[in-house]
């Protein structure tokens, strides 16, 4: 388990020679040097130069932005809060990707549709509450119902997906489930379009979530705060569930080694379904938070957050739950702070358009210099 597979550069000579017992220090040093020289290839060198150049650009850009003083402290605070809210939604979605990947080693491409289905269905409940005035009279209760409906629908979709599309493919070559997932994603998107129509639906406004809190110069929009707190609570609950309960332990065991855990009397199928249930629930909750933040739902709304969340999962180290949380929040922050911080100072026009480019560049850089993601070591061995 100790080997970090993805990080391995082609090990030639040097590594083995080092193992040959105690040697005089001078000689060992020389061997080490030689090993290094042999191990570093031209491409490695190129990569380090590119990475260094990008880092330099970031530092330069940030310095220039800060020196120009265009943004005040409260601007940055806004960016950070927005980034945190956005990021915690990514993190919740990423949970589903990362857990499914951990247990089945597949990219559940259709998870973005699991994320879309819940809030889209719950919209009708929310709209009914809003039109009957129930939403204004009992906002907390009706929000709770909306959450429960959304989570239930998302869970249902996730479980059906697993049963119909993925279970028959457990032992298929790895591209096959990926294509299946892509197909399922299309199917679900257009099924929902057929069911609910192709227009944007505006989520009803929840009055208690409007407005802002002021802390001196800094302000927090209420719904952003709620999104952050709700997501944090959910993630904490999820983490405790996976770490502290028997079922959570069983899930971890299955993702560690399916065969051995089934020999230990764990029902692999049931644990996989449980994983999909958890992923579906957190996606459903994330979906409502997303709808509260952006105030609308649409049959195509899952695609972009889905890709972002998957990116977050990879950033954090796929298969790793705290990693997904960290990756999601990191991605959200970089996206919201990055354009103004790095690019503005470089004199780039309309830097906000490039926020996705920053996110993906970050992803590629992390993959190059730390291929297992920020926290991912545990599962790295069986990967690839």
């Amino acid at each position: 388990m100790g080997v970090i597979y993805g990080n391995l550069s082609p090990s030639r000579g040097g590594g083995v020679a080092n193992r040959g017992g105690p040697r005089p220090t001078a000689e060992r040093k020389e061997m080490n040097l030689k090993g290094w020289r042999e191990r570093i290839t031209v491409t490695d060198f190129l990569m380090w130069v590119t990475g260094g150049a990008i880092l330099l650009l970031i530092v330069w850009g940030s310095a220039a932005t800060l020196a120009s003083g265009r943004y005040q402290g409260h601007h940055w605070f806004d960016f950070v809060v927005f980034g945190l809210a956005q990021g915690s939604i990514y993190a919740l979605i990423a949970m589903g990707y990362t857990m499914v990947y951990g247990i089945l080693r597949m990219i559940n491409f259709a998870h973005s549709e699991v994320f879309m289905g819940g809030p889209y269905t719950a919209y009708f409940v929310a709209a009914a509450f809003a039109s009957s005035g129930f939403l204004d009279r009992h906002p907390v209760l009706s929000l709770a119902v909306v959450f429960i409906v959304s989570m239930a629908v998302s869970t249902l979709i996730a479980v059906l997906l697993e049963r119909v599309a993925y279970r028959p493919l457990r032992n298929a070559p790895r591209l096959v489930p990926l294509i299946t997932a892509i197909g399922a994603s299309f199917f679900l998107q257009y099924t929902f379009r057929g069911l609910y129509g192709s227009g944007f639906q505006a989520y009803p406004v929840v009055k208690i979530l409007e407005g802002q809190w002021l802390l001196g110069d800094f302000r927090i929009l209420k719904f952003q705060a709620v999104v952050i707190i709700a997501a944090a609570l959910l993630m904490a609950g999820l983490y405790l569930f996976v770490q502290r309960t028997r079922v959570g332990k069983a899930i971890r065991a299955v993702s560690e080694d399916q065969e051995a855990s089934s020999l230990m009397g764990i029902s692999t199928d049931r644990m996989i379904v449980t994983t999909f249930v958890i992923g579906g629930m957190s996606a459903g909750a994330a979906g409502v938070l997303y709808a509260l933040m952006f105030k609308q739902v649409h049959f195509f709304m899952g695609f972009i957050p889905g890709i972002k969340a998957f990116t977050a999962a990879v950033l954090g180290g796929i298969g790793n739950i705290p990693g997904a949380m960290l990756g999601g929040i990191f991605l959200g922050l970089v996206e919201s702070v990055g354009p103004s911080l790095f690019l503005d100072g470089l004199g780039i026009v309309a830097p906000y358009q490039l926020k996705d480019a920053i996110a993906f560049t970050m992803l590629v850089l992390v993959l190059i210099f730390r291929p297992t993601g920020l926290l991912g070591e545990r599962l790295a061995v069986k990967k690839a």
């Binding site: 990569m47 294509i179 993959l367």
Partner: protein
């Protein structure tokens, strides 16, 4: 499961699922949308066919899965499945009759319920539906009990009927262009759907043809096998010549719209052949492949379009640059991902694809790349005085491109490099241990694939006359990947077949636009579940995929008893 009771139970379970599917199909609006499309004029509509197919398939499955050899049990089970499916649908109609479902489901319109109850009152309508369900179940059960040859014949005949009915809007105008065929056309088709006489003729014709082929086919194949090698070669060669001739005259036969579809398919074949090298041969899962397509297009646009005013070269002088840039970027984007494997590689390349698209789209690079408005006024390709403007003319260019690229990848497959790629695909570590230079081998794969893609992009740019960043989103990459996987990874004919099936057919069925991607998705899933090796797989791969599934091999031999006899 207790014996006796279990018989009904399994049928009802399947029926419940089928009923759910039928309700879903109704709710997403397919039944209503297709209620005006007649397969047989004034007889049966496409919507009805769809629902009926679901019921029949379920009953067939129920009959197949019935435990025990008794035919009566199978029939009963099939009938139970059909009845249950109809009952679920009936319950839905009942619900729709009393509640206003339309508030949530926009397609739950009164018209839908009118269609489902055959324009009767609720009660009689549901009863009629139940009757049809049970009858359909029994028919499907009988179908299962029939001999395989009868099954094949009937299946082919019914399939042909549905296909001809669905493709009417395409076939009819094409037929009408050609004098003698126009007569057949008039006779075969009414304004909407097949004429009754035409349908009967088609059913009988296709049925008997299938039947005959089932009887004589093996004999013909054996006769071909007995021919001398030289003669076999001549027969094969003449076959190829026929195909070549057909390819040459195809756009002239098919008319403008179908030629347009052909050019799109051709572009996807080019792209697919390129990605086939990266994914199919070398096993490097690249999800950002569209980037090279974009680079090819944009190079042509920048070098030839007078709109930006940097250069205004002709297409032919710009083309080498386009391909060169593609190759260059293939290497440049390949270097960082050299050490990544599997899904990490996929997601990193996806990132690259998106980065390129976002950069092109941004206002930051607008003075050089045109931003969201793209670049227009790309001149048409010309050889001497001949211009390639219409789809029919561009088709020949694309055909030439496909032939060249197909030939290159065919020759590459068995070359030293091709072997190295395949070794890489099977196991990177072992390949390295065998002395394959991973760096150069991988980069060559990326570069070759990128070059092909850039070529396709170049033709795409001139075909459209303008380029927009929105033409290069991640869905294109995913579509190309689906093309090669559905076609059969690593197989050249597979790529062509995949492009026709996944790009051509959906283009042809534009009138069903709303449900195109839905069906596309469903077909992808079904395909992966039932035939993961693709439509026309490479021989090695087929063996590999079926090695571990002896039961499937058994099922195959069981379903073709003709051969074992």
């Amino acid at each position: 499961m207790q014996p006796g009771f279990g018989l009904w139970q399994s049928g009802m379970k399947i029926g419940l699922i089928a009923g759910g599917v039928a309700v879903l199909i109704s709710l997403i609006g397919m039944v209503e949308a297709f209620s005006q499309r007649f397969i047989i004029s004034e007889g049966i509509t496409l919507g009805q066919t769809l629902l009926l197919t679901v019921g029949l398939f379920a009953s067939y499955q129920a009959a197949r899965k019935t435990p025990g050899p008794r035919p009566f049990g199978r029939l009963a089970n099939a009938a139970a499945a059909g009845l249950t499916a109809a009952a679920v649908l009936g319950f839905f109609i009942f619900l729709g009759g009393h509640l206003n479902l339309r508030k949530v489901f926009i397609n739950a319109s009164p018209l839908l319920f009118k269609l489902l109850t055959f324009e009767q009152e609720l009660g009689p309508g549901i009863c009629l539906l139940l009757g049809i369900g049970a009858a359909g179940g029994i028919v499907a059960g009988l179908f299962f009990l029939a001999s395989p040859r009868v099954r094949k014949t009937l299946g082919a005949a019914c399939g042909a009927l549905v296909a001809m009915g669905v493709l009417q809007d395409l076939l009819a105008p094409t037929f009408a262009l050609w004098g003698p065929l126009a007569v057949i056309n008039d006779w075969l088709y009414e304004v909407n759907g097949l004429s009754l006489g035409g349908a009967v003729f088609l059913f009988a014709g296709i049925g008997s043809a299938t039947h005959l082929w089932g009887r004589k086919g093996p004999a013909i194949q054996r006769a071909f096998g007995r021919m001398s090698p030289a003669r076999q070669k001549t027969v094969r060669l003449s076959g190829w010549l026929l195909v070549a001739l057909l390819l040459l005259v195809l756009p002239q036969i098919l008319g403008l719209f179908l030629s347009e579809v052909l050019t799109i398919v051709g572009l996807y074949v080019l792209l697919g052949l390129g990605l086939n090298i990266v994914v199919g041969y070398a096993g490097l899962l690249d999800l950002g492949y569209v980037a090279f397509f974009a680079i090819g297009s944009y190079t042509i646009a920048l070098l030839t379009s007078p709109e930006l005013g940097f250069f205004s070269l002709s297409f032919w002088t710009a083309l080498p640059f386009a391909i060169l840039f593609g190759v260059l970027f293939g290497v440049l984007l390949g270097i960082p991902v050299l050490k990544m494997r599997g899904d990490y590689l996929a997601i990193a390349t996806l990132g690259f694809g998106e980065i390129i698209r976002i950069l092109v789209l941004s206002d930051f690079l607008r003075p050089w790349l045109g931003g969201a408005q793209g670049v227009g006024k790309i001149p048409k390709i010309a050889i001497g005085a001949m211009e390639f403007g219409t789809p029919q003319e561009i088709y020949y260019l694309i055909l030439a491109g496909c032939l060249v690229v197909g030939f290159i990848s065919y020759r590459l497959r068995d070359s030293r490099l091709g072997r190295a790629w395949m070794a890489l695909r099977e196991d990177e570590d072992v390949a390295q241990a065998m002395g394959i230079n991973l760096v150069s081998t991988k980069l060559l794969a990326f570069a070759t694939g990128a070059g092909f893609s850039a070529l396709s992009g170049a033709i795409f740019a001139t075909k459209l006359g303008s380029v927009y960043p929105h033409s290069f989103n991640v869905m294109i990459s995913i579509n190309i990947l689906c093309v090669i996987i559905v076609g059969g990874m690593g197989s050249i004919p597979g790529v062509i077949l995949g492009a026709v099936a996944l790009v051509g057919l959906p283009e042809l069925l534009r009138e069903f636009a709303e449900y195109r991607l839905l069906v596309y998705g469903a077909v992808l899933v079904a395909m992966m579940l039932l035939r993961p090796e693709g439509l026309w797989p490479e021989a090695v791969r087929r063996r590999e995929l079926h090695e571990e599934e002896p039961e499937e091999a058994e099922a195959k031999t069981a379903s073709s008893p003709d051969r074992s006899r």
